[in-house]
Symmetry: C2
Subunit: 214 residues, 2 copies
């Protein structure tokens, strides 16, 4: 499998963590979202992913899948263990709900292209863009924190799953943009426990072949 | 079941359509997102849904589920027929990918609270907010159109599913805000075919008990 990825994309980070948790080997094909206006807009990449976003997962037969959560659902289908979601319907819905709170209510509003459009349309400078991102992360984390279990290593149990992947990858952005995480002890606990696992360590932005670490 | 809903919320509209397609009876409990600054921010509703968003689905035992796509996944689990997603893993991933393109790349960026924040922070007036919404819908629809099948009644087959629900409900917003849909014939075809079904007709905003139709 080939993962079209960008080191700092938290959507790509999610899929890297899921692939690693399941022990599925993959090659990383970096897509530089910043260089020359963004290689995700290059005609060659648009053929792979018409949404001009990362990640994309190319299977061995050339089939390309897009959207990080759809890709992770696929991985759970073709390799059910370890499962990313619990099997009980209510527990599954709760875990998926938290994952979606991150993936739908926080991440898209803070996407790179939204920040770029804010700058172009409303003249938002770097500070205004940071304030924008911090605002939506704080709103989102405030809504997620009360939904989490308090006496487990991860969001709902002692095994990491989809909610933990979405939370931990979002924490990377939260740290990058300076969100005060003190009001979110359960989220912090999940991040700490995920980042103690090799599957997550190997998926972190800094460990990627295209990382630019200053 | 009780669905906490707002007539114009396309996320609530999705769940209404899914419940109707599956023939699951439910009571609608309107949450007025506009009145008095928004009833979704009322302490009584925050107890139900700490994200202060609709929809929420309250089950008969009082359990509350949030996030429209997590709720629809739950409905598919407890009442598998008619299925909202195909069973083949690749077909499932593609349908889920299109559903997520709407639910993650378009809808959250155009959420009511984002528009309100644009107004407060960047002084966006009604025209600027409409331009913002139209922009993200056009970007999203352009990325979805090439992924759809052209010789079927719905997105990928002659049976409506999750992708069709997400597309058709988003079309309601597109029509409301004046998106030129001519470049998206496959999306238009899906909308037309969905809106010919009673399950969708009964779920439309105008048919809701809290609809304000002028």
């Amino acid at each position: 499998m080939i993962l079209y990825s960008y080191w700092r994309s938290t959507a790509a980070y999610r899929v890297r963590a899921a692939l690693n948790l399941k022990g599925i080997k993959f090659d990383t094909r970096p897509v530089d979202l910043v260089k020359d206006g963004g290689m995700q807009h290059h005609p060659d990449y648009i053929k792979i992913n018409p949404s001009e976003l990362v990640p994309s997962l190319e299977l061995d037969d050339g089939t390309v899948l897009t959207q990080s959560l759809a890709i992770m659902d696929y991985l759970d289908t073709i390799k059910p263990e370890p499962a990313l979601l619990p099997s009980d319907p209510i527990a599954r819905a709760r875990a998926l709900g938290v994952a979606h709170s991150v993936a739908m209510d926080i991440h898209p509003v803070n996407n790179l292209r939204v920040g770029q459009y804010l700058g172009k349309t409303f003249g938002a400078d770097a500070d205004a863009k940071r304030d924008w991102m911090v605002h939506w992360m704080e709103v989102g984390f405030r809504s997620i924190e009360p939904l989490l279990t308090s006496d487990t290593k991860f969001a709902f149990s002692d095994t990491p799953g989809l909610a933990d992947i979405c939370i931990t990858t979002q924490c990377y952005n939260a740290n990058r943009w300076g969100v005060d995480m003190m009001p979110f002890p359960k989220i912090l606990n999940i991040e700490k426990n995920c980042l103690s696992l090799q599957a997550f360590i190997d998926a972190t932005p800094e460990q990627q072949p295209d990382a630019v670490v200053s």
